[in-house]
Symmetry: C3
Subunit: 347 residues, 3 copies
């Protein structure tokens, strides 16, 4: 139960769904199917599991369009997973309450801080930083000089955003993430000593991006490392200098993307994937967990393995991998038999 | 040398060992074999290396049961590695000295803080947080609202524990670890835009757990992400939402465990292992470093490779892997010879 | 454009190059080829791309020795990549301006802090810490008791250096890195409970080292985990207890090096490489991204794959990997044909 209440009709509109039942029914909470109580709406993803509604204790259910009627009021939708996310978010939405600037905040010179912000204790904000409306900054965050943060953005505890980086609106950056650390670039002399190549670019994070806990996005050598709008990045991900992550891409935990590589829109990289430097992944490329991508890929390519190959080919090859010792034995035996036969032939 | 002193007999009891030598001998320190001085006890793991005792300069040695006597007093045990850990720990144990709450700590409302705690400067503690006795919190730690910390737990510098998470007793969390970041869950519409699925659960960490530096444990979507008692987690590990890590499991550095996966007791995952979402690993499953586990596994399974297969099979197949080009050549040659022979046959 | 100015002759000396053009030409900035304006020097790495100089708008270019003359003044060098790094660095160099110790810094007892330092707000410094001249410490850094920091070293925001660790001069440690967390060592009893093996050593970081954001270097069980001079470590890298990283080694992002392993000089480990514990990699060993190294390696070895094999062998085998299903079919067919032939022979 939340402290909000909507009619079933209002929720059907949010869910872009078809109502089956009392449109005026009052709903005041969202809960999973097995935990819902009176007043709660819940959801069912698979039409084949319609019997799960039999002992349902809540008040309404979001279901796939294929379920036409049941013993409870329904909102029928194309995608219950998506519709339930929208409705649950609706119940959780809170009006921003500005807590202001805690007395133990270190503010640089010439900063722009609107009235409607919440900045917790022990936050350090550099010179000429600009914060948008309704920005929320938790304790331990450090913003370097000339950082810009858009409106409605949340920086969780202990995030670091280094000098000059630009963060959009409606962005969430989770604890321990580091935006704007130096790219890893050195020139090595004949004696093996490394001279650092200056990293003088920035990181630009566009609107509606999420960046997970302890992930790192390096600043560009020149120009911009760019995380485009709607991209979602999980925990412990490494994004190197001058990488471009396209709109709405999904980057799962522990992925590493090497320098100057460009990802198109809606690219999906599974956990621990590695992408080499200076390649381009087209729109919608999908790579299975642990893939190692060594080449540019056309839009829509589906990959697996390291070096990555088409996923179907990878799955077949991987299945065969365990049989390698047996294959080796077969080949040795065939060679012997062949030698014998050939000798006979030559007699 | 430490500032503690025990008789050899007292130490033999702690080590669960058999004394060989003067029971009243005073021991006041613990050191490796090659660095021990008078008063120190040391340890030898392998009975076959007994000659290492010849030029030993300390006062006593913990040895395997197979060594019955030597030119120094001995404590003979089944497992010198374990016994020495216990005795070394004994020498290092300190009485907790409460330093109290530093003046530069930000305390929320309605917090429960016993007298016997040490809270360093620049720690931020949310509303309704409960701390147990003898909790030690280093600088830069941030505890969200409604966090509970059990007694005798240590939070190293710059740890973040987000709102609502429950940490047990005798737990150590190392620097930069993030407990309770949001799980990575989105529902995607037909246009490719992602709607965040709310992550409203918590993380529960039971007693005697260690979590390494910069590791991340995500809060559950609903319910609990659960690290059970005695589990030890190394650095830079990713534990996703709704994962259960069983009692006394060992999770080595850079492992990633995807959402809703359950590990039994005493599971051991080597470095950089990946486990897919929604699978169950039975008690005592062991996976070699870099394994990629795609299926549920029975208790006691020993795995290697990605996709993971039984370790013995993996080792044999991996050995063969480098011979693939040669195998390919052999097959091509065999096919030619076969074609020739078959032609002959058919003549 | 920077606020510095050099003659082309002065820059040629820094670059160790040969001048072609007006030695007295004034240069006041460094920019990439396509962004250079009057007064800027730029660089070209490949002699074959000399036509890129045709529409160059800057004042001089660093080029490979093979380009003897062009329509702009040149500095001709053996390695334009290296020379340009040196000259760019020259333009960026700033005199250290000591900002002193911010009033919101927590200083322990008996600390040694020279006048010429910059210590930002919310930094916590333990007892008996020694800082060198011109040390720069950003906000949120925590230094444990007895830490030593050499001169001209920079600790970026939210770095943690635990008690007793020694950091050299001209070192940069990026945000969120953790130096001196406990090594991951336990002894397990017959019931499966783990007793922690005390980790009482330290981390020693020598001069001219860089350590990337959110990387972890564990303290030694006994003795020293040692990062030798000139080594460069990228983000999210795990260095376990008692590891030695040799001089000028390059460790790319997300690498994991297990306990007590020793790397020689100028070892290069690509992204996500794993190295097993207790092995030695000779000078100049190179491992491709994602290699899994299970054995000691001779100086100069070049590796790929997991388990790692010589890189050339790995590349050939990996190419063949996708053909495994086809190879399996070929073998089955050959076996059938052979059975038929052998039956004929035996008739």
């Amino acid at each position: 139960m939340s402290n909000k209440e909507f009619s079933l009709e209002e929720l059907a509109i949010v869910a872009d769904g078809v109502l089956s039942g009392d449109a005026s029914l009052r709903i005041n909470g969202f809960a999973p199917l097995d935990k819902a109580a009176t007043g709660d709406i819940s959801f069912l993803v698979k039409a084949g599991q319609v019997n799960k509604l039999d002992d349902f204790s809540g008040s309404a259910v979001i279901v796939p369009m294929a379920i036409e009627t049941a013993n409870v009021p329904l909102i029928r939708v194309d995608d219950p997973y998506l519709a339930s996310a929208k409705i649950h978010t609706l119940f959780l939405q809170k009006t921003f309450v500005a807590k202001g600037i805690h007395k133990h905040v270190c503010l640089g010179e010439d900063v722009t801080v609107p009235d409607q912000v919440s900045i917790a204790a022990f936050v350090s904000i550099g010179d000429r930083v600009k914060l948008g409306e309704r920005v929320s900054i938790e304790s331990g965050v450090v913003l370097g000089d000339d950082v810009c943060i858009g409106s409605d953005t949340t920086l969780k505890a202990n995030v670091t955003i280094a000098e000059g980086c630009k963060i959009g609106s409606h962005v969430t950056i989770f604890s321990g993430a580091v935006i704007g650390s130096d790219g890893f670039g050195y020139a090595t002399d004949k004696q093996g000593f490394h001279t650092k190549r200056p990293q003088v670019g920035i990181v630009q994070v566009d609107d509606d991006v999420e960046i997970g806990a302890n992930s790192c996005v390096d600043r560009a050598a020149y120009g911009v490392t760019h995380i485009k709008s709607g991209a979602k990045i999980d925990n412990l991900v490494q994004i190197a200098h001058n990488v471009v992550v396209g709109e709405n891409s999904l980057i799962v935990s522990q992925v590493g993307i090497a320098g100057s590589t460009t990802l198109g829109r809606n690219v999906v990289l599974g956990g621990q994937v590695a992408v080499i430097d200076h390649v381009t992944l087209g729109d919608g490329v999908m790579a299975a967990a642990r893939s190692g991508i060594h080449n540019s890929q056309k839009a829509g390519a589906q990959l697996g393995g390291a070096p990555a190959i088409p996923i179907k080919q990878f799955v077949r090859a991987a299945t065969q991998f365990g049989k390698l010792p047996e294959m080796g034995r077969d080949i040795r035996k065939l060679k012997k038999e062949m030698a014998k036969l050939t000798a006979v032939e030559e007699e």
